[in-house]
Each structure stands twice: as C-alpha cells, then as structure tokens.
Symmetry: C2
Subunit: 210 residues, 2 copies
C-alpha cells in the first residue's frame, strides 16, 4: 500500500514518472500538466502516479528535489575539480558550469520561473528549500571577490538576477528562440559562446565605460 518502492520494477517506473513530471511541469505549468499526461509520457496509467506519490503536489516536490539534487551534485563535482585554483578563476568557471547546466537542464529555470511569478506555497517551499542556498552561495562568493578588489561590488539582488537572467533565459525560452531566430541554442557551440559572453559581461561589472 505505501508508496515505498523496493522492487526494481517499482523504482524504474518511479523514475519514469519523475522524468515525465519534470518535463511537463516545467514546460506547461503545475496546472497545465495533468497527471494523465504525465502518466502517458511515462508509459503507465494515471492511478499509478497516485500510487508512487501521495498526490500531484508531492509529485511536483519530488521532481524539484530530484532536479536540485542533480544541480548540487554537478556544481559540487565541478568545484572539487578546481582545488588549488584561485577564487576569481574558480568563480568564472563555476558561472560557466552553471550556464552549461542550465542548457543541459532547461527544466531547472523553467520550473523556478513557473512558480516565481506568483506568491504561493509552492514558491515559498521552492525558495526556502532549494533556491536560497544557491543564492547565498553566489552572493558570498561575489562578495569576497569584491572585498578583495577583484571585481566591483554589485548589490546581491541585482547580481543574482543578472546572472540567472542573462545565463539561463535563452535556454528557458529555447522554443521561442528557434522560431524567432532560427538558431538552436542547445548546440555545444552556442552554449559555449553564450557562457563566454555571460562570464565576460559579469566579471567586468562596472569598470568605467569609454
């Protein structure tokens, strides 16, 4: 009865449902993604969703947990590969890695943006559980660099939304980008060029203009 998957078959379907849920929740919204559509993509029937997860809200939370766990692991792994590198270079490479992760997992910012437009319990949970650690880490790193005189200080709110906005928007809006510009933003070349631009922009924040 309980939804604790223990046998291999259960874990596989749980994962399939989770992946389908992430895709649909991020592309359409929470309301726009029906549990029937999610089950359909996962290749199972609709009641099975309620067997593996207590309800739609819990499925949404589980999908978010899964995604942010992947983000955390990916950033952590990148950081560990940078032992001994100076903090400015480390920060640049982490921003670059973040842009690349956002390209490989556009669901991340789609899910966040979906909920960030309107206050509510899902936004509160998302911010308190997953977004705030990311934010405070970013602000702390840039704060240290600014204190060391390596970049110019920018207020946290501006900084955070400049990074995420400039870095992730084109991948969030990839379908629009394709129709509007004819360019597929998910090609390795585009992702790399975009990451270069973002890093170039960010780490010269306000040096005086001409």
């Amino acid at each position: 009865m309980a939804a604790i998957a223990s046998r291999p078959a259960g874990l596989e379907t749980r994962r399939a449902i989770l992946d389908a849920a992430l895709d649909l929740f991020s592309a359409r919204s929470f309301d726009g993604a029906s549990t029937r559509a999610i089950a359909g993509i996962a290749g199972v029937t609709q009641p099975l969703v309620n067997y593996h997860f207590a309800g739609k809200e819990e499925l949404w939370r589980a999908a978010a947990d899964d995604l942010f766990a992947r983000l955390g692991a990916s950033m952590q792994q990148r950081l560990e590969g940078l032992r001994g590198v100076d903090e400015l270079t480390t920060a640049k490479l982490l921003v670059r890695h973040f842009v690349e992760f956002s390209a490989a997992n556009p669901q991340l910012h789609r899910l966040i943006m979906q909920e960030s437009k309107q206050a509510g319990v899902r936004l509160d949970w998302l911010v308190d559980t997953h977004v705030r650690p990311l934010y405070e880490n970013t602000v702390a790193t840039f704060g240290r660099l600014a204190a060391a005189g390596q970049i110019v200080a920018v207020a946290p709110a501006h900084l955070y939304y400049l990074i995420t906005g400039a870095g992730a928007t084109v991948f969030v809006m990839a379908p629009e980008c394709v129709r509007l510009t004819g360019v597929d933003p998910f090609t390795p070349e585009f992702v790399s060029a975009h990451a270069d631009l973002v890093v170039d922009l960010l780490f010269r924040i306000p040096t005086d203009p001409s």
Copy 2:
C-alpha cells in the same frame, strides 16, 4: 449577440476583463487562469467573458494585443523624444526605457515566457505577430552600431536574450525576489539601478578584460 461593444458600459467591462485576463494569464499560465477567476477579478460573471470574447483563446490573444500595443506606443513615444540624438545614445536610452517598461508591466515578459517554454499555436502566433518586430528592430539597431565600430558585434540570438534576460528577469520573478532577497524590485531606485547595470553591461560587450 455579436461581441462588438458600442455602449459605454460594454467598453468598460471589456477593459476590466482584459486587465484581469492579462494579470491572471501572465501570473498563472493559460491553463492555470480560469475564465471564472478572470471574471471574478473583473467583477462580472463568467458567461460575460464569452459574450465579449469569442472564447478563452481569443481573450488571451486580445490581452496580448493590448499589452504589445502599449509597449509599441511607449517605445515610439520615447523614440520621438530623442530626435537629433546620436544613435549610440539613443540605443542606450531605449534599452533603459525598455527595462523601465518591463518593470512597470511585468506581465509582458511573464506572458511571453509562459508560452516560450513549449512550441504550440500560441507561441507561433505570439512570435509572428508581436515578438519578431521587436527582435528585428533590436538586431538592426545593434547591427548598425557594430558596423560603425561603436560597439562590438554579437550574434543576434545571444544579444536579444542577453538584453531581455538581464533586463526583465528580476521583474518577471518579483515575488521570488521579495522572498529570496527581501528587496522589492519595483521601487524606482531599484528599477533605475537595474537599468543602469544592464546598459553598462550591454554597451561594453566585449572590450577586452583587464
């Protein structure tokens, strides 16, 4: 029977429904905004929505038309106040104006982002009808400045999503910003500071770093 409002009362309710629809469509998604909720905010009953508009899809299109008409008029008016100003300064001030408009009307990018995450008829219509003119105008302007050697050339797709992403994201995600940072991004001081940052960043695109 036809939904052509002629008497003053009809025009007022039509406007009320349109405003409510814009708020709800942009905050929740197309699916998440029910015609009953829209009617409720507008202070009318649900069948009246179908009286003034042929259906939910047409209401959505009418709300988008209205919003983009306001954007176009606002940009045009700003441009006319800049006769005789050189093109580089004009471009900077227009970007600034665009950021300010995005702050005053966060529904704009919320509506666009809502649809841009997934291909579909609404995205196609939105891009072909409203977004493309904005995009081509932007690309043409920056192209001329680059050709004149006043800024460094950046590929159109990167450029467009850097501007809109860096400039509008914080206002799109204002509820998250408030909970995450404690800062209200809609204060005149924040909007002005953010516009300054975006202009500073954009118009020094890749001058060499230190």
